[in-house]
Point group: D2
Chain length 158, copies 4
């Protein structure tokens, strides 16, 4: 059986409206291209991305930091409860073929770093810009719009 | 959206033929009743249960102890890579609505114990018999056959 | 430099008086024999064992399930905060040369199982009796008293 | 009992000579000021920092990514084996009162991000410069020399 590509979408738990809209558009784009959306399963950008994917008919995997599957947002179709706090971020990136970071703060930065450490390519959508501090890594890419982020992410899946 | 129940099926990585057949029958039964099968994603009883569920058209979640999703057995439809060794067992039980233990050794015993600790009901199919040492817990049940194990598991889902 | 042996002492978080006294005596015995005591760092049997070891001048490592080192009981000298819930139990057993289980419930049973899975010998002090259900494993031993448990534990360290 | 401050020193596993020397000087400084050194327990900068601290008579905690305490470098006095791969990084930062990042790559960046996420202050010694990308956070500080890094770290401990 051919596996669908898994695209991890990471972002802040309490973002502004514009970030929510971007995350939702990314989630929709992932599903429309036939990818499985993986996210943290919580609120904010995680929920927006999940909603976008779910409304486009996609499968949504939510990997929760807490111990209770019922805490997942309503758009998650496969709930993974870790009860491991931030160590959940490792599961997020290892389980993704490619990671899209939508803006975000330290949690998202940790996921970018862990993804690169684990050899998973990253597309940073108006997010942390490692290239600004001299990083030149073929795993790290930037995007200016949700559509560009999704397009680049699928190009990076091998 | 109504969530499908998630049934975790735990068992040995290197079982005998009979145990493999039992795990496969359990997996098939879970899928036939409309449940999502969750397992460790590896070989042995995990693969047998996954095969049973997949052949009945079910969704199979594999939560791997290693860091590489590609190490999942071929019947897994949703691959979760933890890279956390035995700590993966915690994710297995937290993500399940009910756990069926098919025979098994220490790894399976740890999953039974963690499930009970976390409030998840357990059906032990020719597995560890906590009741033999005086345990009386409404979360812990025993079954003699795969069919009985599946039936009891679905009865325990609230 | 010669490493001191590390003895993990596992037991319930909310035990009765007698269990507390047993855990304290075990902790004291570990320190008197020159071992480092490792425990979960919390209250109940963990605190009693830590107090026994600390009062005998020993080093006490507390591996906490929560994210805050300050939550450790007052007898812990080295605080490890995991924030990983029950996955912390894996760290407990992997970091111990031998594990003494003092009575205990499901959490303790998970630690016994994980220890055996990981090849760490276990002394069960009035705790789970795997031998009653037919287990014959050279890694698993039982003890009737704290003194016997400590003596056996140090014999098992290779 | 007054707890000694715990200073986490993070850095690359395979650094150049100069980075090794810097990590060793940081480790020595931590011990000379009465701090406990916490590190990843492995080779490279982790071993150099541990050597510096041990030679100054300090306690060295090594939190290993692998399952075997014996894999710790020879300067570690307290060995914590997690078997959790990169999820170990979470334990590193949660268990530290302050984190010093000595140069480093993605693993170190993940520890910086996780530390900030978890509210632990960070001193970056010729390491990732979050301030260059517009970050202004009172938890994040930079240092140009090992001596400055150690001095700042102890000032940040509350």
């Amino acid at each position: 059986m051919e596996m669908k590509p898994v695209v991890g979408v990471m972002g802040p738990g309490a973002p502004d409206e514009e970030t929510m809209a971007m995350a939702e558009e990314v989630g929709r784009g992932v599903a429309e291209r036939g990818g499985v959306l993986l996210c943290g399963g919580g609120g904010g950008a995680m929920e927006a991305a999940a909603r976008g994917a779910a409304q486009a008919g996609g499968t949504v995997v939510g990997v929760l930091s807490g111990p209770d599957p019922a805490a997942a947002n309503e758009y998650v179709t496969i709930r993974i409860a870790t009860g491991m706090g931030n160590a959940r971020n490792v599961v997020n990136v290892l389980s993704s073929d490619v990671v899209i970071a939508v803006r975000g703060s330290y949690g998202t930065l940790s996921e970018i770093a862990l993804a690169l450490k684990c050899g998973r390519p990253v597309v940073a959508l108006q997010s942390w810009r490692l290239d600004r501090i001299g990083l030149d890594d073929e795993l790290f890419h930037v995007a200016g719009s949700p559509a560009e982020a999704v397009r680049k992410a699928f190009e990076l899946i091998t």
